[in-house]
Amino acid sequence: MTDSKYFTTTKKGEIFELKAELNSDKKEKKKEAVKKVIASMTVGKDVSALFPDVVNCMQTDNLELKKLVYLYLMNYAKSQPDMAIMAVNTFVKDCEDPNPLIRALAVRTMGCIRVDKITEYLCEPLRKCLKDEDPYVRKTAAVCVAKLHDINAQLVEDQGFLDTLKDLISDSNPMVVANAVAALSEIAESHPNSNLLDLNPQTINKLLTALNECTEWGQIFILDCLANYTPRDDRESQSICERVTPRLSHANSAVVLSAVKVLMKFMEMLPKDLDYYGTLLKKLAPPLVTLLSAEPELQYVALRNINLIVQKRPEILKHEMKVFFVKYNDPIYVKLEKLDIMIRLASQANIAQVLAELKEYATEVDVDFVRKAVRAIGRCAIKVEQSAERCVSTLLDLIQTKVNYVVQEAIVVIKDIFRKYPNKYESVIATLCENLDSLDEPEARAAMIWIVGEYAERIDNADELLESFLEGFHDESTQVQLQLLTAIVKLFLKKPTETQELVQQVLSLATQDSDNPDLRDRGYIYWRLLSTDPVAAKEVVLAEKPLISEETDLIEPTLLEELICHIGTLASVYHKPPSAFVEGSRGVQHKRLPARAGSGESTDSPDVSQSVGGATEAAPTVIPSQGDLLGDLLNLDLAPPAAGPTVPPSMQLGAMDLLGGGLDSLLGGDIGGSPAMGAGLGSTPAVMPTSLGAPPVVGGGLGDLFDLGGSVGMPAGAYVPPKSVWLPAMKAKGLEISGTFARRSGVIQMELSLTNKAMSVMTDFAIQFNRNSFGLAPAGPLQVLTPLSPNQTIEVSLPLSTSGPVMKMEPLNNLQE
């Protein structure tokens, strides 16, 4: 009975002994031996030498023994492909067995053996099993198609298994439907543009029916699949929502979260004034709260998701603050997440309670948690103006505790509070200065130095304080050095008489003794400013600073939209798009929320204005995500190339979706209107690969590359701005695009230079324009001599017409890529 004995042996000559036992005549002895082999396999010993002996045991009517042999086969078949063939006959025979459990077992195991020769033999049995009379066999066969597709996608297509799989969506057995949906969804992920999961109202209806009848896991597969569907109109959207809401009461948290995902997505389409919209909002809160009484690991997943939901639709949980209060025994990962959500939900109505809680947390044991709690108090001050005073006094109390990391964290947040409410709380500076010596973290030191510099005129001994930092200038981190440089320059501009020596000292430290280019550059700029025009220097350095905004750590809106489409999944736990952590082509398809009925494109326009006017500022945050996007486009090159350079309509649609998710609103460069260009500027070109073989997307963050404001009065058609790099090769996996607009013989042209800086050949270029203010659209297809070999550059000129769809951009000449 006890199997643990199999784990114990580690004698020499063990393999030899096992071999003898495996070839024994006695059934019991054989079985014992196979168990020993499996136990050794589990702990990581190499028992592949026994392959022929184990496979010999396969021909048995003992099901337990058979399963063990199969387990062994799945592990070692790949390393011994030739011998694995020996097993084929038994598999094929088992697929005909009268017992459905054995038929299913055979087809299930065969799919797990990744040996080409075996997969060839799998096709016929699989075809039979897909049409088996027994649902248990059919549901196993459905998953087997996905397995086979993973080994040899072409084979699956050639054999027509995909169609059979699609037929199974209409199967009478709910579990077969669920597994077919799971398999199809997985296969569809690696073919983003194929219309494999042909979701239409009829299939959706079948899925919704099966939803009521299948296992909890099946419900998850179906709901996750439903979330990929885009309803035609708000009516359909509502009717699906109505049929999904009962799932919110399921005991399985994953069913609940997947249902939440479907609802969050489809809600986008409902008009906000609809009664049902309000009802739905109300229905979402209780199940989300209930998730917090699940096991801690699930609570963590739920909290990460709630964090997204709260950012997207704060109204859902605005009255539920209390449930996010931290419990003493919560695991640390739950505590940290709850804290994050508490701050997001903080408002004037509940701030008193929140502050009282945060104060408690600031005295806990876990350092990370305490730091976050202190920081949270600062964020409350910035978010809820009425509470600022109380927050500051709480922070001062905490500074009095003299607990080192609490003090440092408090100083960092107080600096932010100063920036939000200038000339209000500076009376506390004296208290802060008392703690100067205890600061040992760069962030806190930098914050303190900033405060001293900014308020130098109110601190009597500011020069002494700053001088004390100067002694160890070279041992400080860059952050502190930069801050110190700026602070001393500020001090000098405020009290020039006493601090001349100090400022010279710091400037020479920064420019002559430092290897850090940033520091040197900043040093030189100050130096020249001060030496050429001190008045201007004053205006620059002591300029009034813009107030900081209340929420600094919000997830960027397009990413948030994408993550909402991934509720419940790993992406929503990491708060990263799947492309950031999934290798290969699987799951990198960007998802986006559907547009509300009647509002057209306007859903993604709010952030357009945000990026305007500050291309340089926007760049650091924007570019990484763009990089991801481009990466994704590139990853799609596994798809078979399309026929010609023209974009087939369906492809174009898919491509537009891909782009739309991010690029639309991510990038915006403000360009000055140029009369030379007539209406030509301000277009929104986006080059699209037809076959997705190459990723030519015009890069962004152009800033004012196009700023031709000075060219007013130039004769029309004469001036063509020089080409500038729109998309650096680094960001497009090797394709560099530079370009400009010109008007030649009355036709607006976009002139592009495409340079292949990658190692491999690029083919199949195409271009696509987003709707723009001037109705610019390509007048003909993009003519690129394909292929573009490495290090080759070609010049292309694309005639444009102004007859394309017009969409007003704010401002008019906003260029987005």
């Binding site: 199999y6 589990t42 099901l63 248990y136 896991w217 998850i220 009461s249 209930t290 990962y333 607990v403």
Partner: protein
């Protein structure tokens, strides 16, 4: 989907390793051992990403279960599956321990083959699994064709949790309303947060395929009935007895769409014990105990603590297993305790005074006072007072929930609702019941 599933002992030795996907290699087994188990730190996240591979892990006593993937899987589903896996193992061989896992490793591999196919969870109801995977080896060799197809239709069927042809001489069912009442109170006696999370656990020993209908004093249902009845009286009187349920979740046997439309709870139960529903209430909770703390610091080396507990329920009822835990500072050198009732002890290893009372009737009061002597320390950091926590058990439901009926219909077999013997029991326990001091 799930690419592999590993089970380790506390030393990080792998006890079970099953790989489902080609993108997961054997090295993943070691990566987790080295990075998580051997790190021997407090777990900072239940999902760990090592070299673009994500590990979902849970721990049961000193056994680690880890599910591995390289894809964007449904994270909630993976954890639910791991819990389910634990349930199934417990149903087969009891406690999850290294010994039990080693003793049943062949069985576990069989289960893993059955309930996870290519990383997709399949039917994992232990009731159904037990019909064809047993500890005595697999059934199936000597079954008739009918038996086999009955198994497969049950495993894949709409009522995957119950098999046909169950017979009992005596049809009987037990309902346990188990509640845990959670409280966080400020030192001044203000309720910071309070909620009841309750479960209705049903043990059914019923023949055939019985159709059941469960009713409780849910405010929405009662109000609806009150309205349709038309008499104002019934509305008023039931208003007092009914409770507002914030949210409830059901076992998969309950027809959710019916609950959504009519708020009626109807189902065909699994055989034996299962959790019919879970619910949560936050309004009008009866807090069975009130804790009044009083802590006074006498100089730097002495603390005086006085704690009063008051029971707040019908005098005829008895609370049991009462335990009050009063935390003490780390530099405590000695404690003197005086209590009126029960026994109190200072437990140095737990840094707490533990006060136990066997029984206490409703509307009573009891008190403990303690003098804590402290060693002088140079530690600047102030002692952070953890809250005083309490445990107890009371024979009523603090939420006020009442079972109104559980009707059983079985049309094919000739027994009626009246023939079924029904038992209902209410138990209220403390969840996290804390008072800050």
């Amino acid at each position: 989907m799930i690419g592999g599933l590993f089970i380790y002992n506390h030393k990080g030795e792998v006890l079970i390793s099953r790989i489902y996907r080609d993108d997961i290699g054997r090295n993943a087994v070691d990566a987790f051992r080295v990075n998580v188990i051997h790190a021997r730190q407090q777990v900072r996240s239940p999902v760990t990403n090592i070299a673009r591979t994500s590990f979902f892990h849970i721990k049961r006593s000193n056994i680690w279960l880890a599910a591995v993937t390289k894809q964007n899987v449904n994270a909630a589903m993976v954890f639910e599956f791991l819990y389910k896996m634990c349930d199934v193992m417990t149903a087969y061989f009891g406690k999850i321990s290294e010994e039990n896992i080693k003793n049943n490793f062949v069985l576990i591999y069989e289960l893993l083959d059955e309930i996870l196919d290519f990383g997709y969870p399949q039917n994992s109801e232990s009731g159904a699994l037990k019909t064809f995977i047993t500890q005595q080896g697999i059934k199936g060799q000597h079954q008739t064709k009918e038996e086999q197809s009955q198994i497969t239709s049950q495993v894949t069927g709409q009522i995957g949790w119950r098999r046909e042809g169950i017979k009992y001489r005596r049809n009987e069912l037990f309902l346990d309303v188990l509640e845990s009442v959670n409280l966080l109170m400020s030192p001044q006696g203000q309720v910071l947060s309070a909620h009841v999370s309750g479960r209705v656990v049903m043990k059914s020993y019923l023949s055939g395929m019985p159709e059941c209908k469960f009713g409780m004093n849910d405010k929405i249902v009662i109000d609806k009935q009150g309205k349709s009845g038309g008499t104002e009286d019934s509305g008023k009187s039931s208003g007092k007895q009914s409770i507002a349920i914030d949210d409830c979740t059901f076992h998969q046997c309950v027809r959710l769409s019916k609950f959504d439309s009519e708020r009626s709870i109807s189902f065909i139960p699994p055989d034996g014990e299962f959790e019919l529903l879970r619910y949560r209430t936050t309004k009008d909770i009866i807090l069975p105990f009130r804790v009044i703390p009083l802590v006074r610091e006498v100089g730097r080396t002495k603390l005086e603590v006085k704690v009063v507990i008051k029971s707040n329920f019908k005098p005829s009822l008895l609370a049991q297993k009462i335990e009050v835990r009063i935390p003490t500072p780390l530099n405590t050198s000695g404690v003197q305790v005086i209590c009126m009732k029960g026994k109190a002890k200072y437990k140095a290893s737990e840094n707490a005074i533990v006060w136990k009372i066997k029984r206490m009737a409703g509307m009573k009061e009891s008190q403990i006072s303690a003098e804590i002597e402290l060693l002088p320390t140079t530690d600047k950091k102030k002692w952070t007072r953890p809250p005083i926590s309490m445990n107890f058990e009371v024979p009523f439901a603090p939420s006020g929930l009442k079972v109104r009926y559980l009707k059983v219909f079985e049309s094919k077999l000739n027994y009626s609702d009246h023939d079924v013997i029904k038992w209902v029991r209410y138990i209220g326990r403390s969840g996290i019941y804390e008072t800050r001091c």
